[in-house]
């Protein structure tokens, strides 16, 4: 029998897959380098195309796009002080301060190399952690999966920024949307109100395009002041000059940032953005040259830019092992895997080990490809930043329309996109985060299935949900996560700092 790893190598190193990786890399760099367009939006726009691909190129396209988009967010951050993606926001000021000192090339070069190394180390963590956790996951029954899904979703709300109660409401809205359509256990239609198209449920990809792309376009047009940013007159040429000495001086920061990023990425909902903020804060707190932070000091840049790319791989750990996404991008990727008939979870280790190995290899290849593509993007950065948003936004709108249409082959997909786009815009206007809604839509079906399976097994006795040791531990932990915001709220009422 051929080793799955070699089968996976053969699957990945095909001209078509490699071409998809290079094209997705270029796409990710373009979208990531344009302020206002996020890595999640890049994925949302890409998914309709991946819908028509085989699983391996589809996953390769998503992984490469996100990895390159996250790095590309550094480019406008360093040159314009506008982070291209939220993951670059943590060290945007630091990188811009370097540009003001005439070190734009160095800032971008350090960011690129650290992103590549962080991404590679994160990929190694992904490989090691998934294999270890898979053995553990085999012991899980529907009780454990139910609590794990609850815990993952709850943590995603708790660690998200803003009001916790609005995060929970956003999650519940997503869970409600996931209940629309025929109930698979009873065959009873729910909340369809006679619509034949709704019987199949709310189509996930148009919903996601609406929530991440249409809401962004609406926000863009609602901002009346579209001043073209001034690009600094600075030649960005010797990208790698001086990078070696920085990395040699801060090698431990690089290792720490990568490890921290991978670990934070594993936490549901945390993702690359939070990884970068935490790594930057840790870097500043432990630095021997604290006073230099904020004045164009490369140390924080090393930690944070390694952390955000490492965080991407980390987010795939719970996604692959348990089928529970770590962030909105992995939620989208899981949705794509489900559509391809490859349900993530421990069984994938037995049923499709070659696919799993291929995912690991893709992570390594995507991060390696980032080096030459990133170099090219830095050299072309001043040109890319000149692309006017007034040309881009209508083009993105058309892509959204066609992408949503393509999934259902009818205007139903476009209607879903419109409704979800307006909902997401209204939610964000009122301080509701939208990532929990997407997680709810993706995980709702699995959560309900595990809930009802467990209810049937326990004959309706809810105490049975705590009858197995791991289930009981996860259940208690989940309830603690639910109680935590209430306790902090009571404390906050006393101290006047209520985040609920």
């Amino acid at each position: 029998m051929v080793d799955p790893f070699f089968v996976a190598l053969e699957l990945v190193f095909q001209p078509y897959v490699l071409l998809v990786i290079v094209c997705s890399g270029a796409f990710g760099l373009l979208v990531g380098s344009i302020p206002g367009l996020t890595a999640t939006m890049a994925t949302a726009l890409l998914v309709p195309v991946t819908f028509f691909m085989d699983p391996i190129p589809a996953i390769a396209a998503i992984v490469t796009t996100v990895a390159t988009a996250i790095f590309a967010g550094d480019i406008p951050g360093a040159l314009l002080r506008i982070p291209g993606t939220p993951a670059s926001a943590a060290y945007c000021d630091e990188a811009f301060a370097m540009t003001r000192k005439g070190q734009a090339s160095k800032a971008l070069g350090v960011g690129l190399v650290c992103s590549v190394i962080g991404g590679l180390l994160g990929s190694a963590v992904l490989m090691a952690a998934t294999s270890t956790l898979a053995d553990f996951a085999f012991k899980f029954s529907s009780f454990e999966y139910f609590w794990l899904a609850c815990l993952g979703l709850s943590c995603a709300v708790i660690v998200s920024t803003g009001s916790v109660i609005k995060g929970f409401a956003s999650l519940l809205i997503g869970l409600f949307i996931s209940t629309i359509g025929i109930d698979l256990m009873s065959g009873h239609p729910r909340f369809t109100f006679g619509s034949i198209e709704l019987l199949g449920g709310v189509s996930f990809i148009p919903a996601m395009i609406g929530m991440f792309a249409i809401s962004e376009i609406l926000r863009f047009v609602a901002t009346a002041d579209h001043v073209r940013p001034q690009i600094p007159h600075q030649r960005v040429t010797s990208v790698f000059e001086g990078v070696g000495s920085v990395l040699s001086k801060y090698r431990w920061n690089l290792l720490r940032g990568s490890s921290l990023g991978a670990l934070i990425g594993v936490l549901p909902g945390a993702g690359a953005d939070i990884a970068a903020w935490v790594a930057y804060a840790v870097s500043k707190r432990t630095s021997k040259e604290k006073e230099k932070f904020g004045d164009g000091h490369a140390e924080g840049l090393v930690d944070a830019s390694a952390a955000n790319n490492a965080g991407l791989s980390g987010a795939w750990v719970p996604a692959l092992v348990f089928g529970i996404p770590g962030d909105s991008v992995t939620a989208i990727a899981i949705g794509v895997l489900y559509m391809k008939g490859m349900n993530p979870g421990p069984m994938i280790f037995l049923e499709n080990p070659q696919i799993l190995n291929a995912v690991f290899i893709i992570f390594f290849v995507a991060n390696l490809v980032l080096l030459p593509l990133g170099y090219l993007a830095i050299r072309l950065s001043t040109q890319m930043l000149k692309i006017p948003a007034r040309m881009l936004m209508p083009a993105i709108l058309l892509f959204c329309l066609v992408g949503s249409f393509a999934i259902t082959n009818s205007v139903y997909g476009v209607i879903v996109m419109l409704v979800m786009g307006v909902l997401a815009f209204a939610m964000e206007e009122n301080g509701f985060p939208i990532a929990p809604t997407i997680l709810g839509i993706v995980l709702g079906g699995m959560l309900e299935e595990m809930f009802l399976s467990s209810m049937i097994k326990s004959d309706g006795n809810f105490l049975e949900f705590f009858s197995r040791p791991i289930a009981a531990s996860l259940g208690v932990l989940t309830i603690a996560v639910w109680v935590y915001p209430i306790m902090t709220s009571i404390k906050g009422n006393i101290t006047g700092q209520n985040r609920l």
């Binding site: 929970f168 909340f191 609406l218 009346a224 007034r390 936004m393 058309l398 209607i415 206007e429």
Partner: protein, 159 residues
Amino acid sequence: MKFNDAIIGVFLIIFAIIEILYARTFPTLFGQQFGPSEFPILIGIGLAFCGAVLIMRGLRLRYKNAIVGGALVSVGEWIESNAAITNFALVLLSILFFILAVDDVGFVITSFLILALLFKRFGNSFATSMIGAAIMTGATKYLFGFWLLVPLPVGQFGL
């Protein structure tokens, strides 16, 4: 448009009540006391709880006459700009136009009209708008229609 948390809370509670009442009409699983209504009811209870907390929070902010959340309804700065409102409405109307027209008029004409209008509205010159709309429509038709084999509607004009 920003609503005070109390208004959102009331809306969530009303929605939750309707959702729970409707879900209670679902049948139970054969031989069981529960069924497809259980999960939606739990979601409804959760939403009602969130709504109640938001009402308390909104009223507290209003009572304290805080700057944020003091008013029941407030509009964003962009509402004060006619240009922004027009752009916002145009994007929504463009999507509605696509939904209503694409099957009859065809993808090429519908897309070209939407793009040309938006390009021009967002400040591009007439020539740039026309050329940009033609190129983008052609590229999208090629990518999705010919390469990915998506059956894009051709409408009555065969385009």
